[in-house]
C-alpha cells in the first residue's frame, strides 16, 4: 500500500473544488485516458486584476492524482495568473506533505494542467480534447503513456533527475512495456545529467567486425528477444554491415503498429547501450 501523507488523504476524502465552472475564462487539460491519469481544470478569472476567483477540477486517476488536483485548486484560488504561473510540481507535492516517489507524476500533471489553463486564458493554446497525445509538439517517446521527449526533458531539468526510474516516477514514461528505456537514457545523456556508467561493452570504441557481430548477437539474445517474446513477438538477425544491423521482426512484432518504436527504441537502444553508441538498426521487411 502507498504511504500517503494525512494531507493527501484529506484531499481525497473528499476532494475540494470538484466539478466544472460554467462558462469558464480558462480551461487546462493534461494527461489522457490511455495514461491512466487525466486532469481538466477550469478557472474563473477577474479580467482587470487577473486574479483567479474560482477553480474547479475533474480528474481521472488514482488517489494522489485526485489529491494533487484538489490541492492545486486550493493553491491557485486568490492568486493572480502571474503568481499561479510560478507554481511548480514540487510546490504541489510539498503542499500535500510529500508524495511517494512513484507518484510524483501526479504533481507534474497538476502543474501541466495549470500551465495549459493560463496559456488558454492568454489565447496561446486552444484546449485539446482529453485523449490526444503528443500535443506539446514533441516527439512521442513512451507510447504506452503518451509521453513526449519535451515533457521528459523538462522533468529532468526541473527535478534534477538522473536515472530512468526517476524519469518514470515523474512522467510515467517507461513504466509499462519498458521499450523506451533506451530512448530515455539518450535524453538523460542529452540533458547532460549523470547516469549510471555504461557497462564495459559500450566503452570500447574500436571493435573488430568479428567482435561487433558477436556482441550484437549476444545483446539481441540477452536483452531484446526476451522483451519481444513477452508480447508474443521475436526478431531474427539478418546481417551486419559495418555498424548497420539488419533485423527482421517476427511474430506479433511483424506488422505491429509500433514496430517503428520497437526498432528504434528497444533494439537500437540496447545495441547502442551494450555494443557501440553509433549502431544503426534497419528493418528488413519479410
Amino acid at each position: 500500500m502507498w504511504d500517503y501523507s494525512d494531507k493527501v488523504k484529506t484531499h481525497f476524502l473528499p476532494p475540494h473544488d470538484v466539478g466544472e465552472i460554467a462558462s469558464p475564462d480558462a480551461i487546462g487539460e493534461a494527461g489522457s485516458l490511455v495514461c491512466g491519469d487525466a486532469l481538466r481544470i477550469t478557472l474563473k478569472v477577474e479580467p482587470d486584476t487577473e486574479k483567479i476567483l474560482d477553480a474547479k477540477f475533474q480528474t481521472f486517476g488514482c488517489g494522489s492524482a485526485i489529491a494533487s488536483s484538489s490541492i492545486l485548486t486550493d493553491m491557485v484560488i486568490g492568486k493572480t495568473l502571474a503568481e499561479a504561473a510560478r507554481i511548480t510540481n514540487q510546490d504541489i507535492a510539498e503542499n500535500l506533505g510529500g508524495l511517494p516517489q512513484e507518484k510524483m507524476h501526479c504533481s507534474v500533471m497538476g502543474m501541466e494542467a495549470l500551465e495549459a489553463a493560463i496559456a488558454n486564458y492568454r489565447g496561446q493554446v486552444q484546449p485539446s480534447a482529453p485523449g490526444t497525445i503528443g500535443e506539446d509538439g514533441g516527439e512521442l517517446v513512451c507510447k504506452c503513456f503518451g509521453v513526449t521527449d519535451r515533457k521528459i526533458e523538462r522533468a529532468i531539468r526541473e527535478n534534477n533527475l538522473s536515472t530512468v526510474d526517476e524519469v518514470t516516477n515523474y512522467t510515467k514514461a517507461g513504466g509499462a512495456c519498458g521499450s523506451c528505456h533506451g530512448k530515455i537514457e539518450e535524453i538523460l545523456r542529452r540533458v547532460g545529467k549523470e547516469i549510471s556508467p555504461l557497462p564495459a561493452g559500450a566503452e570500447k570504441t574500436k571493435l573488430t567486425n568479428l567482435q561487433r557481430m558477436k556482441l550484437v548477437q549476444e545483446t539481441l539474445d540477452r536483452e531484446v528477444r526476451p522483451e519481444l517474446r513477452k508480447d508474443g513477438g521475436d526478431l531474427e538477425l539478418v546481417d551486419i554491415e559495418g555498424k548497420v544491423v539488419k533485423v527482421r521482426l517476427l511474430g506479433m512484432c511483424a506488422g505491429c503498429q509500433v514496430a517503428g518504436f520497437t526498432l528504434k527504441d528497444l533494439v537500437g537502444g540496447k545495441l547502442r547501450e551494450f555494443v557501440e553508441p553509433d549502431i544503426v538498426v534497419e528493418d528488413i521487411k519479410s
Binding site: L33, P130, P226
Partner: protein
C-alpha cells in the same frame, strides 16, 4: 475504520481458528528440533509426518511425494530449477503469459542464462489454445509449467488435458495450483502433473509455509540444500508449527470443499450480478464458464482502480486492482494485458475474491457501498462527463 469486509482472499486468507489451535503448542511447548536424538525434539518428526499425510490426502497422493517449502514462490522456483538441473541437456521451457511472477521471473532469469522460453498466449477470455501447446513442445523441452487457476481472473485452465498432452510428448509437467488448492479437485490419480505447488496462506494456513508435490519417479535436484530434511530434497530445519497448520488446513478444506465451493460461488455470483445490475458500463474480465468459484474481476470504465480501492478502504472493504497505480511499478496487470483488455479498462479493474468466512450480509453491504463510490468517482472524471455529453 468500520468492521473489515475482507474480499481479497486471493492475496491471502485468515488463519482458521482450528489451524491456529493445533499450531500454538508447537511454539509454546514443543519447540524442539525434529532432527534431534532426544525425545523432546525427535518426537516432533511424528507431528511433521502426520501433517505430511494430511497434505498428501488433499492431493490423493503418497506421503513421500510431498515436500514442505516456505510457500508458493519457493515451490514454484524449486520445481523449475529442480527439473532443469535434472535434465541439463534440455534447454527449453514452456509456460504462459499469465502465470504468477513466481514463475515468470525465474523464467526471464533463465532466458538470460541461455534457456529458450515459450510464453503461450491466451485469448480475450483468458483461455489457452491447447493445440498451440502441443506444437510448442520440442525434443529439448525440459518442462511445461502452467497454472491450475489464475490469481487475477480466476480462469481455470484445462490442466487434465494439458497434463495428458505433456505426458504424451514425454515431457515434465509442473502445475502451480496455489489458487486452486482447497477449492478444486486435486486428485493426482487423474491429473497427470509431475509437480504441483501449493501455498499455505491461500487456504487458511499461515504465511511462510507451502508444499510441493513431486510424483514418484520424477527427476528432481534439490533447490535449497542443507540438512537431510524432507528426505534430502529440501534442506533447513522444519517449520514445525507452520507445517502442522498446513496439514490441518488441508484437512479442513477436504472436509467440506464441495459445499463451501458452492456457497462461495453463490456469494460471488450475487455480488457480480448485483454490480452489473446497479452499475452501468461495467464488464467482467475473463471466461465466466471456467472460473474459480471465489474470484471475480470487473472493470469500471472511465475511472481508476486505486481511487476505488481507497474509497472502499474507508468502509473497511478490502479488494485489489490490476491498475498501474497499484502495482508499485506503474505497470498495468500483465494478465489483463495478455487478454487484450483495453488499457482504460485495466486501469478501472477490481478483483473481489472470497473465502469460507464471507457472508451474504457482507456482499449486500458492498452492493450498497460500491455503486455510490463508482458514481462519485465518475462524476469527478472528465471522460465520464465527456461521455454523458
Amino acid at each position: 475504520m468500520s468492521k473489515v469486509i475482507y474480499l481479497d482472499n486471493n492475496a491471502t486468507t485468515p488463519v482458521a481458528p482450528e489451524v491456529l489451535d493445533v499450531m500454538l503448542p508447537y511454539y509454546r511447548e514443543f519447540y524442539g528440533n525434529p532432527s534431534s536424538m532426544h525425545t523432546f525434539g525427535g518426537q516432533l518428526a511424528h507431528a511433521v509426518n502426520d501433517a505430511r499425510a494430511q497434505v498428501a490426502e488433499l492431493f490423493h497422493a503418497r506421503e513421500n511425494e510431498i515436500i514442505f517449502t516456505s510457500g508458493g514462490t519457493e515451490s514454484d522456483n524449486a520445481a523449475i530449477r529442480g527439473v532443469l538441473e535434472a535434465f541439463p541437456e534440455k534447454r527449453h521451457i514452456i509456460t504462459t503469459r499469465v502465470e504468477h511472477p513466481a514463475i515468470l521471473s525465474p523464467c526471464r532469469h533463465l532466458e538470460h542464462q541461455g534457456y529458450r522460453v515459450t510464453y503461450l498466449p491466451v485469448d480475450d477470455q483468458g483461455r489457452l489454445d491447447i493445440e498451440m501447446l502441443r506444437e510448442a513442445i520440442k525434443s529439448d523441452t525440459a518442462l511445461v509449467s502452467i497454472m491450475y487457476a489464475n490469481n487475477e481472473t480466476g480462469i481455470v485452465f484445462p490442466v487434465k488435458k494439458i497434463g495428458a498432452i505433456v505426458k504424451e510428448k514425454g515431457c515434465v509437467f509442473h502445475c502451480d495450483a496455489v489458487q486452486a488448492a482447497g477449492k478444486l479437485d486435486m486428485d493426482m490419480q487423474t491429473l497427470a502433473a509431475d509437480l504441483v505447488s501449493i501455498s499455505g496462506h491461500k487456504l487458511h494456513a499461515p504465511k511462510g509455509v507451502g508444499a510441493l508435490f513431486i510424483r514418484r519417479g520424477t527427476r528432481f535436484v534439490p533447490f535449497i540444500m542443507g540438512g537431510h530434511q524432507e528426505n534430502g530434497r529440501r534442506g533447513g530445519t522444519e517449520n514445525v508449527a507452520g507445517q502442522v497448520g498446513l496439514g490441518r488446513a488441508c484437512e479442513l478444506a477436504m472436509s467440506d470443499c464441495r459445499t463451501e465451493t458452492l456457497r462461495m460461488a453463490g456469494l460471488r455470483d450475487r455480488l457480480e450480478q448485483g454490480v452489473l445490475e446497479r452499475i452501468p458500463e461495467t464488464r467482467v474480465n475473463g471466461d465466466v464458464e471456467h472460473r474459480l468459484p471465489a474470484t471475480m474481476n470487473v472493470s469500471f470504465a472511465y475511472i481508476e482502480g486505486e481511487a476505488i480501492l481507497l474509497k472502499l478502504n474507508e468502509f473497511g472493504i478490502c479488494a485489489s486492482s490490476g491498475s498501474a497505480c497499484t502495482s508499485g511499478s506503474l505497470e498495468p496487470s500483465h494478465v489483463l494485458r495478455a487478454m487484450g483488455v483495453p488499457f482504460t479498462d485495466i486501469h478501472g479493474s477490481i478483483r473481489f475474491s472470497f473465502s469460507r468466512y464471507n457472508t451474504q450480509e457482507e456482499v449486500d453491504r458492498v452492493l450498497e457501498i460500491l455503486p455510490p463510490i463508482i458514481a462519485e468517482l465518475r462524476d469527478m472524471s472528465p471522460f465520464w462527463n465527456q461521455r454523458k455529453k
